[in-house]
């Protein structure tokens, strides 16, 4: 008994910084943003309670918000899917038996994730320059007339997708680690049964990667919702609002138009969408599972 009590006291003492931080910097802001989302608040006058008017306006009257939501979901469903396919592909290649220089490749794929956001912006503005950028000049060599990328409403989002693939070294490393955990005996058994490479990938590798795919999809989804600096610096939402993403629009409402209540409502819609999508990912992952 005595020991239990002492352990409880010690445990709580050790985690007390977290308890304080959680209450002040997470729980309190979360619930006060729920409160602000029900008010009209411009920092000058006191918050005025207006019920669900902010939510109603966002969901049914603000056409820009629907554009923003569309842009963001595009980055999740198209962008994240492409990124997942590419990163798994690279990880499988890196996991090839007896391949040399794996640590070199790991470094190469990981380094882009270290680049500061402003530098990222400078770099990609130049890489995707329509006339003198490196991507379009390589496309030019193959005879393709490269698009305007960040200056074209159709190609700006694909530009950001290229950029996010370039920064997906974390995912590659996680897939690589997960591949190492798949028992080799499974592949050998499949070889003896005469399975080809494609069959092995679909029946052994992908099911084995399922937990890692789930993890990367959820963190990737949250990252898309949070991504701010790139669009803020490179395109500032343009052209034609084609890169006005969720966080950028939220930032504008809060810190450029000082509509704190409206931005808070947006924050809560974001939280609900993120929760729903996380649950959906978990369910999908279960359904696609072959075992358990």
């Amino acid at each position: 008994m005595n020991i239990q009590k002492r352990n409880l006291r010690n445990g709580l003492l050790f985690i007390s910084p977290w308890i304080f931080g959680f209450l002040c910097f997470t729980a309190y802001p979360m619930f006060s943003s729920l409160y602000y989302s029900l008010t009209e608040y411009n920092l000058i006058a006191d918050p005025k309670y207006i019920g669900f008017a902010n939510y109603k306006q966002l969901l049914f009257e603000d056409e820009l918000f629907l554009t923003v939501l569309g842009n963001t979901l595009y980055m999740i469903f198209v962008g994240l899917t492409i990124t997942t396919v590419v990163t798994i592909f690279i990880a499988i290649l890196l996991n090839t038996k007896n391949i040399k220089g794996i640590s070199f490749f790991r470094v190469v794929f990981f380094i882009p994730t270290l680049v500061p956001f402003v530098v990222l912006a400078i770099l990609w503005i130049w890489v995707l320059q329509p006339d003198s950028g490196v991507v379009n000049s390589i496309l030019g060599i193959v005879g393709i007339d490269g698009p305007g990328w960040f200056s074209s409403p159709t190609w700006a989002k694909p530009g950001f997708i290229l950029m996010s693939i370039w920064m997906s070294g974390n995912m590659i490393l996680i897939y690589l680690a997960a591949l190492g955990d798949i028992p080799k005996s499974l592949y050998e058994a499949a070889s003896i049964d005469g399975a080809n490479v494609i069959q092995k990938v679909f029946h052994i590798t992908l099911p084995g990667l399922r937990p890692a795919i789930l993890f990367n999809s959820i963190t990737g989804m949250i990252a898309v919702f949070q991504s701010f600096a790139e669009a803020f610096i490179i395109t500032d939402g343009g052209p034609d609002n084609s890169t006005l993403f969720y966080s950028l629009y939220l930032y504008r409402n809060a810190f450029q138009y000082f509509d704190m209540g409206y931005a808070s409502a947006q924050a809560w819609i974001l939280l609900i969408i993120a929760l729903l999508m996380t649950t959906a990912f978990f369910k999908l992952s279960k359904r696609w599972g072959f075992e358990d």
Binding site: I15, T96, I99, P183
Partner: protein, 302 residues
């Protein structure tokens, strides 16, 4: 490490199965071909990952006529170092560097101190409610910063911290879910007997933490420092919201300020970009083991 064992087993198996052996020469040729193919694709992908960097470096050494040349110039005719020289004088580089380092150093101290204590409480002591509360910690991992950003701003404004470094530093002294998770995972792997022996000798819980667990945890603490360093060095949104006057700007904000001017000087910006990225890449080369362990640790156990 793990991978060597199954490979050896498979060689063993091959010897047992006689009909498998006949095909070895043919499959060897096949294997070498497919390996070559794998290398080719990997090299292509690596090039795609490396070329943007080379482009940045080459751009930082160009004068403005080469910068906009069409077709593009890959290697500048005369290496134009003036961009670098001017980068340090075009804006208060050293002031912004100092500000960035203040934030980086203090957040690193905060992250190591707070998260090691917290993770200890979540792993080395058995107490009621512990695992229930830990689920809340994990849940906060998925909370987008945007949800709490506005009230945090209002809170810091209320207590007069906006414009100072406090909003960027102080929260890091109160735990970070990712680091708690990482450290807890590591602490759980340390044998229980070590703490028990120390406790038998009359050591308090804190002494065990300080004298036994922390010295054993240097590699994972290094991982925390490195990750926090990079996060704080890269950060843009935090400084953008919480800092208000130029004298407190970090490098990221200073650079963005130059970029938003009319007709920014791109050669100079690229030189600053190289100067801001190179130190991190150098750190990474020396300490890459810690990075890779940290990341794979979370991914495989998460």
């Amino acid at each position: 490490m793990k991978m060597t064992l199954p490979v050896e087993q498979s060689k063993h198996q091959r010897n047992i199965l006689p009909n498998q052996r006949q095909t070895t020469t043919l499959s060897k040729v096949n294997k070498n071909m497919s390996k070559l193919f794998v290398y080719l694709i990997l090299i292509l992908f690596s090039l795609a990952f490396v070329v943007p960097f080379l482009w940045l470096i080459s751009g930082s050494l160009k004068d403005s006529s080469e910068l906009f040349a069409n077709p593009p110039v890959w290697i500048p005719e005369a290496l134009n170092w003036s961009n670098y020289k001017e980068a340090f004088s075009a804006f208060p580089f050293f002031l912004y560097l100092k500000n960035t380092l203040i934030v980086v150093v203090f957040t690193c101290i905060g992250a190591v101190l707070s998260n090691s204590l917290i993770a200890y409480g979540f792993s080395r002591i058995e107490w009621k409610y512990r695992d229930g509360i830990f689920i809340i910690v994990l849940a906060t991992l998925m909370l987008p910063f945007q949800v709490i950003m506005i009230p945090l701003f209002l809170l810091f404004k209320e207590i007069g911290w906006i414009g100072s470094f406090y909003p960027l530093i102080v929260p890091h002294f109160f735990g970070n879910a990712f680091f708690i998770f990482l450290l807890r995972q590591f602490f759980k792997g340390i044998p229980k007997e070590l703490s028990e022996a120390a406790k038998m000798d009359g050591a308090s819980e804190f002494t065990v933490f300080w004298k036994v667990i922390l010295p054993l945890s240097k590699p994972i603490l290094a991982t925390v420092v490195i990750f926090q360093f990079i996060e704080a060095w890269r950060d843009f949104l935090g400084p953008l919201i919480f800092l208000s006057d130029n004298s407190h700007y970090t490098l990221s904000l200073g650079v963005q300020q130059i970029m938003s001017q009319n007709d920014p000087r791109w050669g100079l910006l690229m030189a600053i970009g190289v100067a801001m990225t190179l130190p991190i890449i150098i750190i990474f080369f020396f300490l890459q083991r810690y990075f890779i362990e940290g990341i794979t640790f979370t991914g495989s156990k998460g």
